[in-house]
């Protein structure tokens, strides 16, 4: 049965007229009726009226059901197109959301284990084998905790901002070329074959992170959070520019701003061989931008209790905690992409495996370096980033420019095969 909205609509008017007439008759009967009121005649007409209403309602429901079914049909038709299906599978399952979440859980465990080793401890041991399920236990515990919102907090902003922060931090993962085939945006087989500005987009999205830190600190209604929020903004202000300029070197060598193309250009030689200092500046600037240990003035626990996260509790804290690890993961992945050849590597391994191995190594370095130095004061962070990292990275850009022009064999080498 095909439902026709217009037929149905056309019938509606007759019905309305009928109802109105009936009502009119009902109102006018004391004047029009001759003789005594015949209750049963009136009562007999009532049923028709009720039935009319039921029919009308059913018409609406029927129409809604068909509309929904049609809509779902249409969606399914789109999804079942091969290219669309593959895109969705990537975005949600494999290099996308679920993969990232699993990697995040693994990262937290990995970080905690290395921290524990550095501090002469064993780290989580009891939940699951080698404490592998500890994060789930922690997450369940944190989520089941009471959420305490301070009196002076702006309640709705306080509720929304932590989740938004996580979303913002997760977005750039869409641009990371995990594998020649399995990636979300940028591979030749995906519906968006070559996103030519993905490097810029990643930084553009990441710029929003300190805004969220500052806002969370602001709306928490606590002095510690406010100071922490400003320090987070200060950190990003110091570290963003050296980091972006450090990423110019690989982009110039590859002749592209697309992360996928930069990786494809590294088939002959990894850029860390050509640009070691550039790698170090990017590395330090990335640490400063994340705000972990040597640069953790925003969350300095011996000064301002937990910085901009002081007032967060329960699920909000969990989300923000995940966001920090996601950011560290993201920067490690960016370093692998820009300097360590991305998925290029051992030919008999899948691209994603190559990427994961390098990523683990970079993340290990990240943790070892972050837990070897004392916390810098916020003015010293700016001092370091602007006085040492910025000139070094600019110098590197200049050197790369000259090298590309004047060294003859360089261009074929760095463009890749």
């Amino acid at each position: 049965m095909q439902f026709d909205v217009f037929t149905w609509l056309g019938g509606l008017w007759d019905w309305v007229i009928g109802v109105l007439l009936w009502l009119w008759g009902f109102l006018m009967w004391p004047f029009l009726w001759e003789g005594p009121f015949d209750f049963f005649a009136w009562f007999g007409g009532l049923w028709d009226w009720v039935l009319g209403i039921f029919l009308w309602l059913w018409g609406i429901v029927n129409w809604l059901i068909f509309w929904v079914v049609d809509f779902v049909n249409w969606i399914w038709f789109l999804v079942s197109l091969p290219e669309n299906f593959m895109f969705l599978f990537r975005a949600i399952v494999f290099p996308g959301l679920i993969f990232i979440l699993l990697a995040l859980i693994f990262t937290v465990w990995y970080t905690r284990k290395i921290w524990a080793r550095l501090q002469d401890r064993r780290g989580p041991m009891h939940m699951g084998k080698y404490g592998g399920l500890q994060l789930f236990a922690d997450a369940i515990k944190l989520m089941s905790k009471e959420i305490i919102i301070p009196d002076k907090a702006k309640r709705w902003m306080y509720r929304i901002l932590p989740s938004l922060l996580l979303v913002i931090v997760m977005l750039p993962f869409a641009f990371i070329p995990w594998d020649p085939y399995w990636n979300i945006l940028g591979s030749p087989t995906s519906p968006f074959p070559d996103l030519s500005v993905s490097l810029v987009l990643v930084f553009a999205i990441l710029t929003a992170v300190p805004v969220f830190s500052l806002l969370i600190g602001w709306v928490s209604g606590s002095k510690y959070s406010l100071i922490g929020g400003f320090r987070a903004a200060n950190n990003q202000f110091a570290a963003e520019i050296p980091m972006v300029i450090s990423s110019v070197g690989p982009a110039m060598l590859a002749g592209s701003l697309s992360l996928y193309s930069i990786v494809m250009a590294q088939t002959n030689i990894w850029y860390i061989v050509l640009l070691p200092i550039n790698f170090i500046t990017f590395f330090v600037a990335a640490i400063a931008s994340v705000g972990t240990f040597p640069f953790d003035a925003p969350v300095a626990d011996s000064e301002i209790i937990f910085g901009w996260r002081t007032e967060l509790s329960g699920i909000y804290f969990t989300v923000v905690y995940f966001a920090e690890f996601a950011e560290q993961m993201l920067y490690s992945a960016l370093m692998v992409t820009l300097f360590l050849g991305g998925f290029n590597g051992l030919p008999f391994l899948a691209g994603i495996v190559n990427f994961a191995i390098k990523w683990l190594v970079v993340f290990f370095l990240f943790i070892v370096v972050t837990s070897s130095f004392y916390r810098l004061r916020q003015d010293q962070v700016v001092h370091l980033c602007w006085k040492y990292l910025l000139p070094l990275s600019i110098l590197n850009v200049v050197l790369v420019m000259f090298a590309l022009v004047y060294i003859p064999g360089l261009v074929p080498l760095v463009i890749g095969g």
């Binding site: 240990f293 040597p294 626990d301 000064e303 070897s372 004392y374 810098l376």
Partner: protein, 378 residues
């Protein structure tokens, strides 16, 4: 400080439930990033130890004192015992004297190691928080082997010491001290050799020797200014063995600012303290004679004390630790016992050192003074 600046000030309570303010609170008035006023608050740990001592007899008193500062438990209990010994005029056997001194220096080493970790933690390096504490475990194991308790040793008693050295203890002590000595270069690299550490501590928490004396600072905090004020040398307790050997007072002289000290100088000073303590133990161990460890009449003599006043002092890890004791005739308990903790002065001096510093430097300043809340709250 003009009044207009104070219009923009805000007050931040640093403690008492702060991560690094364990049991104390300072009210900081900050303008921008700078602290203009610091008002330290005491009393969160006040247990009235002085009143407690008035109801304990002369052998029990030291148990109360130990619990004031767990990190230097033996150094904390010793002044009371010294004061009792001064009133009764007890002569301690030679062996007990040297054993007391060895334990005292041993205790000082582990207390200073604890401080390394604490200071590094306050400056944000959690790795260094735990490394010295792990090494310290070996010292604590040695204490446990000797006395049966890891921190609160209650080792000395009026007239001698309670437990004799055993070969097991000596072996454990040697392990612990060897580890301290071996790990010294590592900690030197991680603390004094770290560029980030120098950035955070140099020029922070600055004061001159004259100021420090007026505030009553003592111990490493004033030795860092170049004044070799050390009670072990200046006024050695007659029942300790510091005058039997030849040793140097650890003191550093900073050429850049003589007679003044900052947080970095205080770190170097404490490194030197450990070296001196190791040196003293090394020199004392060979001359340890055989003999009794306690005066056999001490127990009956300390049941009831004659009327008198005694002032027992010792150079603690954190400075001059002393107990002033007054007894009435034939008293079982002291009439008045005044405990002078070294950190009473160093905590008070935050009031003068901190104004003008950046807010982020506040942990570096109080950490470098090595405050322990038990000492001012008692």
């Amino acid at each position: 400080m003009s009044p207009d600046i104070l219009d923009e000030s805000s007050v931040i309570w640093f403690g008492p439930q702060h991560v690094s303010a364990h049991g104390w609170a300072a009210k900081l008035t900050i303008v921008g990033d700078y602290i203009v006023e610091c008002d330290p608050n005491a009393g969160y740990f006040h247990r009235s130890a002085e009143k407690c001592l008035e109801f304990r007899n002369f052998r029990q008193g030291s148990m109360i004192l130990e619990r004031i500062c767990m990190m230097e438990a033996f150094l904390a209990e010793y002044p009371y015992i010294a004061a009792v010994e001064k009133i009764v005029d007890l002569e301690v056997p030679e062996r007990a004297k040297i054993m007391r001194t060895i334990m005292m220096e041993f205790n000082r080493i582990h207390s200073l190691q604890f401080w390394w970790g604490q200071f590094a933690g306050e400056l944000g390096l959690f790795v260094m928080l735990l490394w010295p504490w792990v090494d310290r475990e070996y010292s604590l194991d040695a204490f446990e082997e000797l006395t049966g308790s890891r921190h609160t040793v209650s080792y000395a008693t009026p007239g001698g010491v309670k437990y004799d050295f055993t070969p097991k203890f000596l072996a454990k002590m040697e392990t612990a001290l060897k580890l301290v000595k071996d790990r010294m270069p590592v900690f030197n690299d991680m603390l004094a050799g770290s560029p980030t550490f120098r950035l955070r501590t140099e020029g922070v928490g600055h004061y001159t020797a004259k100021q420090a004396l007026k505030w009553g600072l003592s111990g490493p905090n004033i030795k860092a200014c170049g004044i070799p004020m050390d009670l072990r040398k200046d006024d050695p307790d007659p029942n300790l063995a510091y005058d039997l050997i030849d040793w140097e007072v650890p003191v550093i002289n900073n050429e850049e600012h003589p007679g003044e000290s900052d947080a970095f100088d205080r770190l170097l000073q404490r490194f030197k303290e450990i070296e001196t303590s190791l040196d003293i133990i090394e020199k004392l161990l060979p001359i340890l004679p055989e003999g009794p460890i306690i005066d056999p009449k001490a127990r009956s003599k300390t049941n009831r004390l004659p009327e008198g006043e005694g002032y027992g002092r010792v150079e603690g890890t954190r400075g001059v630790t002393s107990v002033w004791l007054k007894t009435m005739a034939k008293a079982q308990t002291p009439w008045r016992a005044k405990i002078r903790g070294p950190c009473f002065a160093s905590y008070y001096s935050l009031k003068h050192i901190v104004p003008g510093a950046r807010f982020a430097d506040f942990p570096a300043i109080f950490g470098s003074l090595d405050p322990y809340p038990g000492w001012w709250d008692r």
